[in-house]
């Protein structure tokens, strides 16, 4: 048993729903109690879909248990076929139905329905949403895709995009355009937008492009075995990765990787002197492994940030995640416990978080700007405009999205120069954001007093968790043995804009401990600044 407040992933049958809802002509009969229909609104509300997900829920109740839930399933499956006439059906159980062991696959097979029935075995008490999507797509491909003659022209399939995926709609369009520039036509993009009939003709493509390993890798491996199709390993998020991807495709097809890059703006936007202020900004990256690994490369080599922490919630990808983190001299955080993620972010004192909707909340709480780069998603992650993450346009979108939350170039300098201004000060937030500026509290109490008060109130309201909510308090509480801040030095520290204050504080403290200084004075602060100057 594990106490969970917020989850990064839903249960595996929600992953199966993402596949079914993304496809056309497929129906999902889900053995499930009343209430599991909540998942419909993920699609109709968060993604604003104008159709109900193609899912029939058997809706068994307490009084059916021990009675005939199996017949309930059979009736539901038969009625669903009669009403929707799908080309194929997937059948399975949600967490509760898994416990009553009715064998939906066997029951559905016994009905002799005139369409392929694909049983799903998704262990709800062990696995999660991404596994559910990956395994469902894999089973559909395994059941329906057969080897067949290749198309005359060079074609490929695009694998992994699902309903409710982070920017999947636009990524598929962008990658299709990119492949088109190389002279490659897309045979089938699946699951998103494909029908079972489309899946059946996947075998005629020359190779597969895997966009999302989390939801498509098992299908890619299965197609490699059954249809002899090679698949791409590079995910084209970012400029470098997109070029690497083009070279990988060129190696598979023998076509030229040279394509028109005139629409690519990220490199010049990044090289423009206006972007100088981005240099070395501390960034913490968390989300699904694929997006985090790609984001770290962009952050470090294409925008010039410093990656100070990275990790993912999907344990299945812990190994590549750890390897990627090592390249930046970091230990990857592999966790689906958002309190643990919050602690790690607070400890790393980043100036920008690249994360999921959960990290956006963490950022709000800690006062750190955040841009969303990965699922889990919210309604605002489904913009009306075209905004892919992949390919060259994706790189442009990423530049804009990540830079927007930050305080911009000269504004940052002005805040540093005129720290005491009563309305134009760091706590007021970036001036291009809508939030109401707060007037500076004059005669603010000494930091140490403030910290004591915060720690005291944290104790009164229950220690642990409340203290966690107040990273400043935790930061200010000086551990025994560490150097003590002289009040004048604390005042000086407070004049440093908030977006670099954490870094200045940490640097000064580690400098003091290296030098064996017991009390940090204003001089220590500036000595440390000189020491760490770059």
């Amino acid at each position: 048993m594990k106490l969970t407040l917020w989850t990064y992933e839903g249960p595996p049958h929600v992953g199966a729903m993402r596949v079914a809802t993304g496809m056309k002509g497929l129906h999902y009969v889900l053995h499930a109690p009343q209430g599991d229909t909540y998942a419909d609104l993920l699609f109709t509300m968060i993604e604003r879909r104008n159709h109900r997900p193609p899912v029939t829920y058997t809706t068994f109740q307490a009084r059916d248990l021990g009675g005939d839930t199996a017949n309930l399933f059979k009736d539901a499956a038969r009625d669903a076929y009669a009403r929707f006439q799908p080309q194929a059906m997937i059948v399975g159980a949600s967490c509760t139905a898994e416990l009553i062991q009715d064998d939906p696959g066997g029951l559905a097979a016994a009905l002799d329905l005139p369409c392929p029935i694909i049983p799903l075995d998704l262990p709800s008490y062990q696995r999660k949403e991404n596994f559910g999507a990956d395994e469902t797509f894999h089973q559909i491909v395994r059941a329906l895709a057969k080897p067949m003659p290749r198309t005359a022209n060079i074609t490929c399939n695009i694998l992994g995009a699902t309903a409710l995926g982070f920017r999947h709609r636009d990524d598929v369009a962008e990658v299709t355009k990119l492949l088109g520039m190389m002279g490659i036509t897309v045979n089938v993009a699946a699951p998103l937008g494909a029908s079972p009939a489309d899946i059946a003709r996947m075998g005629q493509a020359h190779f597969n492009v895997l966009l999302y390993p989390e939801t498509g890798e098992s299908a890619a491996r299965s197609l490699e075995r059954s249809c002899g199709q090679p698949w791409t390993k590079v995910v084209p998020i970012g400029v470098g990765a997109t070029r690497d991807f083009l070279h990988e495709v060129a190696a598979i097809t023998g076509l030229s990787p040279k394509v028109d890059e005139s629409a690519l703006r990220l490199p010049w936007w990044s090289a423009s002197v206006d972007s100088t202020y981005l240099t070395g900004k501390r960034v913490f990256i968390f989300g699904d492994a694929t997006h985090v690994i790609a984001a770290a490369r962009i952050a470090a080599t294409e925008i010039g940030f410093e990656v100070v922490g990275m990790g993912c919630y999907n344990r299945e990808f812990a190994r590549p995640m750890r390897a990627a983190a090592k390249a930046y001299g970091l230990e990857a955080l592999i966790s689906d416990d958002y309190l643990e993620v919050e602690d790690a972010i607070a400890a790393a004192t980043p100036e920008l978080i690249l994360g999921t909707q959960q990290e956006r909340h963490i950022g709000k709480r800690l006062g750190i700007p955040c841009a969303v780069i990965s699922s889990p998603v919210h309604v605002q992650d489904f913009p009306a405009r075209y905004s892919p993450q992949m390919g060259f346009e994706g790189a442009n979108v990423i530049f804009d999205t990540w830079i927007h939350p930050l305080v911009m170039g000269l504004e940052e300098h002005l805040l540093t120069m005129f720290r005491e201004d009563f309305e134009f000060h760091d706590a007021a937030g970036a001036s291009h954001h809508g939030a109401k500026a707060q007037a500076r509290a004059e005669d603010a109490p000494e930091i140490s007093l403030e910290a004591e008060a915060l720690v005291a109130s944290a104790d009164a309201s229950g220690g642990g968790i409340s203290a966690k909510r107040m990273p400043d308090a935790a930061e200010q509480a000086v551990p025994s043995g560490a150097a003590v801040w002289h009040p004048a030095a604390e005042r000086e520290l407070k004049k440093i804009p908030f977006f670099v204050r954490g870094k200045a504080k940490r640097n000064t403290e580690s400098y003091a401990s290296e030098q064996g200084v017991a009390e940090i004075t204003v001089e220590t602060l500036y000595e440390a600044k000189a020491h760490y100057a770059r």
């Binding site: 839903g10 109690p33 229909t37 609104l41």
Partner: protein, 425 residues
């Protein structure tokens, strides 16, 4: 008093009972508002990842503060041995209470999986109550989808509290059902002006304010979904005051008058107290009735508020209900509303969503009240919809909210008209 019942109401109307796929939430969803209402309570769902995912998705947005609810997610090893599951539960509860010493009431909430594996949360609650008393009282109830639909979660929660309430011989009014704080204050103010009292609330904002109950307790429900709580209070000897629910000017007046009569308030004093707010409510409703009058409305089952709301829309806003679907029909509780709802609409209980969608399509109503899973698909087909969940998450009871309640129904119609103008231009 214009509470003239129609020649024929709907109390005797035949009820279409259906079963099939239900497009509704389970009772766990009630935690979303209960955990804000009871400020020293924590709701610990013992369930699966699905339960946790439901709670964060149903809220639509994640709640910024640390929520006072969580899910103890059952894992493979918990299913293998129940003894271990109990030990695990005790450990998680101890850890939670150590971290949150401000918690005075802990609700262990059963889910579909915990019910199916027969994890005895009642005994667990007794065991944990003994361990953590007197600081924390541990209750249990089931919010599972196999037993409860949406608002029935609140009913199960309150019904679980009733047997533990202190006993009293005092003649007191108990107002039962979670209300938004602002509405609760208005309700208490009206009752005070009428001279009705003492008044207690269930649920109370804090455990220290929990009411006592006994043979002289008189209770009135402010939510129509409290069937089990109603039965539990009667078992404690309390007396129910049946009344239409306090939605709209007419419903609020009827509800207050039922209470006033039980406490010997004179008609003259009642009229003096209610005249001004009644007039305000009528005026506020009239502004929206212009949009709603003559329009037809179709209710998919959701919160059990459907019968009282149909009565409000039919009598005070001039709408014509075509079908009024409700998850459960407690005639003993919504009987007074059924009496006032003019005959005509089909009354349906339970749901087979595909067949109901067929009926809705055939009826082609001007306004369809339904859940979030259906709203956008129906809008895409050209229907105008009102999401039912907003009726539960918005202050809509009593006089000062009567106009807001009408506004919830008129806004989708006004919006559709605005957008049509825009696309015609």
């Amino acid at each position: 008093m214009s509470l003239d019942a129609p020649d024929r109401g709907c109390r005797e109307a035949p009820v279409l009972k259906e079963r099939g796929q239900r497009e509704v939430f389970c009772g766990l969803t009630g935690i979303i508002w209960l955990h804000r209402k009871m400020q020293d309570a924590f709701f610990l769902v013992v369930g699966s990842r699905t339960c946790a995912h439901l709670l964060q998705s149903a809220a639509g947005v994640m709640i910024f503060a640390e929520p006072r609810f969580g899910t103890a997610i059952l894992e493979e090893k918990d299913l293998a041995g129940l003894a271990d599951a109990n030990a695990e539960l005790d450990r998680e509860v101890a850890r939670l209470l150590a971290r949150r010493p401000d918690i005075k009431q802990l609700f262990l909430v059963g889910s579909c999986p915990s019910e199916v594996i027969k994890l005895d949360l009642h005994r667990a609650a007794e065991r944990l109550s003994a361990q953590h008393s007197p600081h924390v009282r541990v209750y249990n109830f089931s919010g599972s989808g196999i037993e409860t639909t949406f608002t029935q979660g609140e009913d199960a929660c309150l019904a679980a509290m009733v047997p533990t309430l202190a006993r009293t011989e005092a003649r007191e009014l108990l107002v039962v059902g979670a209300l938004p704080d602002v509405v609760e204050d208005q309700c208490l103010s009206l009752l005070a002006q009428l001279g009705v009292g003492p008044v207690r609330m269930l649920p109370a904002r804090r455990s220290a304010d929990l009411p006592a109950v006994g043979p002289n307790t008189v209770f009135a429900l402010v939510q129509p979904f409290l069937g089990d709580t109603h039965a539990a209070l009667i078992r404690r000897g309390a007396t129910h005051l049946p009344a239409p629910f306090p939605f709209g000017e007419e419903g609020t007046t009827a509800w207050l008058w039922a209470v006033a009569q039980a406490f010997g308030v004179t008609r003259a004093h009642f009229d003096a107290v209610t005249a001004a707010p009644r007039a305000r409510a009528q005026k506020a409703i009239a502004a929206h009735a212009a949009t709603l009058s003559g329009k037809s409305v179709f209710f998919f089952p959701d919160s059990q508020l459907e019968i009282p709301l149909a009565r409000f829309l039919a009598r005070e806003c001039g709408m014509t209900p075509i079908e009024v679907g409700t998850p459960y029909l407690h005639t003993g509780i919504v009987g007074p509303d059924l009496d006032l709802l003019p005959e005509g609409p089909a009354i349906s209980e339970g749901q087979d969503v595909e067949r109901q969608l067929d009926r809705q399509h055939a009826a082609n109503p001007d306004l369809t009240v339904c859940g979030l899973g259906l709203a956008n698909p129906l809008e895409a087909k050209g229907h105008t919809t009102k999401w039912a969940i907003e009726l539960v998450f918005t202050p809509v009871h009593f006089y000062e909210q009567a106009g807001d309640l009408a506004g919830l129904f008129s806004r989708p119609l006004r919006r559709k008209a605005l957008l049509q103008e825009g696309s015609a231009a």
